[in-house]
């Protein structure tokens, strides 16, 4: 694992003494200024010019397979006017005081960094030009740059960045907000496909991931967790375990989920993980899980049915008078929809390596959100955040799982218990399935009223979800502006709550991955009642092109219409046809419409082809990776719907142990083709990690309905 070469100003000075000249940037940028309470991002030190005129660019965000390790450096390299071949990409450490927000979540890297990373590159370029202007005694305005060199066209002189770097580093960095940026027509890197920077290492099996971390004297910890979430340790009998040669320690720790002072996890530390794992069968732990044994999937289903039979406990959004409008409607459509808890099932199991020495904690963490991981580890371990150093590893799948940091908190405690010894904590697959932060289940009871023209005049949804202290738990909320609420005259969105002991969290396209199925599935029923297909109902309901208020961001009806029209054109959509389904969803600032073609043969549903049209604004930064993200998202959505994915709980305990209990998509279930197109619009570019996922699920359900005539209102779909 390469130690990040790009740290802070002091490191730069050290680096410059050691060899390559260095270009520093000290600049502050306030990001998301329109968002109240947004943290200011302080940026510097992303660029180092090497003696051979290669340029090392720091990639600050965690790489989980979304391609950000290439994408962010592309933005810097573009404005620095480099040839891509000059670029060496290095993962930075986690330090938000230096690099700004470093989160792989919410498809946020593009919208958050599109301008700041370009400004970083442009500022560096301006400093190089200033240095060249001084050296040549010419006006900086007469200079240009190309492929890592400053040019003076009048004289034909040129200087490489490497030869200017030392002088440039003494220049005062320009104001990032005022530095000139390229016109997009001049882009030579942005918009060109760039392959993954780590691919050469991946195909050789070189160590990259957290699980691959190696250090002298490394010891290994396997985990024993209270089977039911929220249970705690009463007593540990570890005599038999400690008698095993190679076992070093047994340590009770807190994953962060139970109150501090209690333990819900016991670590067996040994000189081999396999040995520690095997020793678990000899560990006897008495747990107190009396408070959580009553929670079960069957119980949730029963309670949800009971809550749906009554009026919602609380109102989420009201407009007009939905009851009156329903009473006067020409047609009324009613349906119940539901979806289950889901696990993330990253292929690399949760792990983290930590070393506690001289009161400081050093971590090698596959974290999607190391800033939060630092805070959580500090809280649980009782260590000051500034006494921690966090190195970022490549991550074997994120999907939101590693936005929450039980693995870091546990590793920190293990390291503290064994000062001076690096400890790697690793979950096995069952630990990983049973101690996830799950996508919460939910239930919806809909009524919609149509007028004589087929327009939606009333919409009611009673949403049953999970809450604690009267507030939805993590990822269990619904936006008050869930479409089509804001454009229907009479709306009543209400919510009822129940409790769970399960920890919940964000799964790729959180809330949207469920709401798209629920709302677009129901709207397909409404469209049918109106004598329309879903794209046409959407067009009529969206109405004129305009921006309407959304939850956190506005929703643009014209952009929605744009992708609906595009996918219908590409797929040759001709209205309701047997074997085809449509879905649209707006999430994470991306507008996506998708068409799914299915056939049913020998009692099995087969997806033949998927068409995707997306609008993520004016620029697709890395086209090849963009297509990969979209295709992977679509396949993941199909997997959620088609394979029986469902986390089941009995007596407080999640029953899934391995991939036999929670199937992931395999090659034989994947369509032959997923066609991807982007509709370019004059809006700032946005992210692609998530928004292509949600609409594929209703498109699939609606396609199956077109063949069977039976509505599919529950995930996972019963495959006929």
């Amino acid at each position: 694992m390469s130690k990040a070469a790009i740290l802070n100003r002091r490191s730069f000075m050290v680096a410059s003494l050691a060899g390559g000249a260095v270009l520093t940037l000290d600049a502050s940028v306030v990001l998301g200024a329109s968002a109240p309470g947004a943290q200011p991002d302080v940026l510097n030190a992303f660029v180092r010019i090497n003696a051979d005129n290669s340029v090392t660019i720091g990639a600050k965000n965690p790489e989980i397979g979304q391609g950000v390790k290439v994408m962010l450096p592309m933005l810097i390299a573009e404005e620095l006017d480099l040839a891509w071949e000059q670029v060496i990409i290095e993962q930075t450490d986690a330090d938000e005081k230096v690099y700004g927000i470093q989160t792989a979540g919410g498809s946020s890297a593009t919208p958050r960094n599109w301008l700041p990373m370009r400004q970083v590159g442009a500022a560096a370029r301006a400093m190089l030009i200033a240095a060249a202007a001084k050296q040549w005694g010419v006006d900086a305005a007469t200079l240009s740059t190309a492929r890592g060199a400053v040019l003076h066209k009048m004289s034909g002189k040129s200087l490489t960045y490497a030869s200017l770097a030392k002088a440039a580093s003494a220049e005062t960095p320009p104001d990032l907000a005022k530095v000139a940026l390229k016109d997009p027509t001049a882009f030579s890197i942005i918009g060109q496909s760039k392959v993954g920077v780590d691919v050469p290492k991946i195909i050789k099996g070189e160590p990259l991931f957290g699980i691959d971390m190696r250090l002298p004297g490394l010891v290994h910890a396997a985990v024993v967790k209270c089977p039911s979430h929220g249970g705690t340790v009463v007593a540990i009998d570890d005599a038999a375990v400690k008698a095993i040669p190679g076992v070093i320690a047994v340590v009770a720790v807190n994953s962060g989920y139970v109150p501090l002072g209690k333990s819900d996890t016991v670590l067996i530390v040994a000189d081999s993980w396999w040995k520690a794992s095997k020793a678990r069968e000899k560990l006897a732990v008495t747990w107190d899980d009396s408070a959580v044994r009553g929670f079960s999937t069957a119980g949730y289903e029963k309670d949800a049915a009971g809550l749906l039979a009554h009026a919602p406990q609380t109102s989420l959004f009201k407009a007009g008078d939905a009851d009156a409008a329903l009473a006067n409607a020409a047609k009324v459509v009613k349906a119940d929809y539901e979806y289950p808890f889901l696990a993330h099932a990253t292929l690399e199991p949760q792990n983290c390596t930590a070393l506690f020495k001289d009161g400081k904690l050093e971590m090698w963490a596959p974290s999607q959100s190391p800033g939060n991981g630092r805070a959580e580890t500090a809280r649980v371990c009782g260590i000051a955040p500034e006494d921690m150093t966090i190195h970022l590893t490549r991550i074997g799948g994120g999907f939101g799982r590693r936005l929450l940091h039980d693995f870091m908190a546990i590793a920190g405690q293990a390291a503290k218990a064994l000062p001076g010894k690096p400890v790697k904590v690793l979950y096995d697959r069952t630990d990983d399935f049973r101690h996830d932060f799950y996508r919460p289940a939910g239930w919806h009871r809909f009524s919609a009223g149509l007028d004589a023209s087929g327009a939606i005049v009333a919409l009611k949804d009673h949403f049953v979800t999970f809450a604690k202290d009267g507030k939805p738990i993590r990822a269990a909320e619904m936006a008050a502006t869930e479409f089509p609420g804001p454009v229907v005259p009479n709306v009543d969105y209400g919510v009822s709550y129940m409790a769970t002991n399960l920890a919940t969290g964000w799964l790729r396209a959180p809330t949207s991955n469920a709401m798209a199925f629920v709302f677009q599935g129901f709207l397909d029923e409404v469209a049918e009642a109106a004598g329309l297909d879903l794209p046409e109902l959407m067009r009529r309901t969206l109405g004129a092109s305009r921006e309407i208020p959304g939850g956190r961001v506005p929703f643009h009806t014209g952009r929605a219409r744009g992708v609906i029209d595009a996918v219908c054109k590409s797929a040759g959509w001709k209205g309701r046809e047997t074997g085809r389904g449509f879905g649209f969803y707006f999430s994470h600032l991306g507008y996506f419409a998708e068409v799914v073609d299915v056939t049913i043969a020998d009692g099995a549903v087969k997806v033949d082809k998927v068409w995707v049209a997306g609008d993520i604004g004016s620029q697709v930064i890395n086209p090849i990776n963009a297509r990969h993200q979209v295709q992977g998202s679509a396949i993941e959505g199909l997997g959620q719907a088609m394979l029986g994915q469902k986390i089941v709980q009995e007596t407080g305990v999640v029953t899934a142990e391995n991939f036999g209990d929670f199937a992931l998509m395999r090659m034989d279930g994947v369509p032959r083709e997923i066609a991807v197109e982007f509709v370019k619009t004059d809006f700032p570019p946005t992210g692609l990690g998530e928004p292509a996922l949600p609409p594929v699920i209703p498109a699939l359900a609606n396609a199956i309905y077109s063949i069977t005539g039976k509505r599919h209102r529950r995930l996972p779909l019963e495959m006929i």
């Binding site: 991946i202 990253t346 690399e348 086209p623």
Partner: protein, 167 residues
């Protein structure tokens, strides 16, 4: 006990308990972390290696059963002509996303092309369905296998953004 085996052409002797899986001997005793732990139950294929030329799940292969045998892992796959072509195809088509499963995918794909040099689309799907890719890079895995086998591309990728070129 002391167990001798050949790994990527090199004779190795390991001291390990006989029931220790080959996966963990590779990762812990031989310091070769390229072979990945995914499920420990032979369900995901991340730990696929070749044992005497056959693809096996190293998490389900006890080291005692590998004694005296020839093991090839991802670290050594490019020494094999087919493995080299497969790895090169993986790079050329930018197959990996997170990359965690890809060692196992490359090992399985190489084993496929060794015994079936010109597989049909169904052959590829059937053979490769023991390997999970959580990022779902399956379309490119299919394409990379065809590329390595010298088969024509299955799909002319319509609808891709303009200006696309490999770099």
């Amino acid at each position: 006990m002391s167990i001798a085996l050949t790994v990527n052409g090199r004779k190795r002797v390991v001291e390990a308990e006989t029931d220790k899986p080959l996966l963990w001997v590779l990762r812990e005793d031989l310091d070769m972390p390229g072979t990945k732990f995914g499920c420990g139950a032979g369900l995901c294929g991340a730990c696929t290696v070749h044992l005497d030329g056959e693809a096996v799940r190293s998490c389900q292969t006890l080291i005692a059963d590998a004694a005296g045998k020839v093991v090839t892992t991802i670290e050594g796959i490019a020494a094999n002509a087919i493995g080299k072509r497969v790895s090169a195809a993986w790079a050329a088509l930018d197959v990996p996303q997170c990359g965690y499963c890809q060692a196992g995918q490359i090992m399985s794909a190489t084993a496929l092309l060794k015994q079936n040099p010109k597989p049909t689309a169904d052959d590829i799907d059937g053979w490769m369905s023991g390997n999970i890719c959580r990022c779902a890079t399956y379309l490119r895995i299919r394409a990379a296998i065809r590329h390595a086998a010298g088969l024509p591309a299955e799909i002319v990728d319509a609808g891709q953004p303009s200006g696309e070129q490999m770099a």
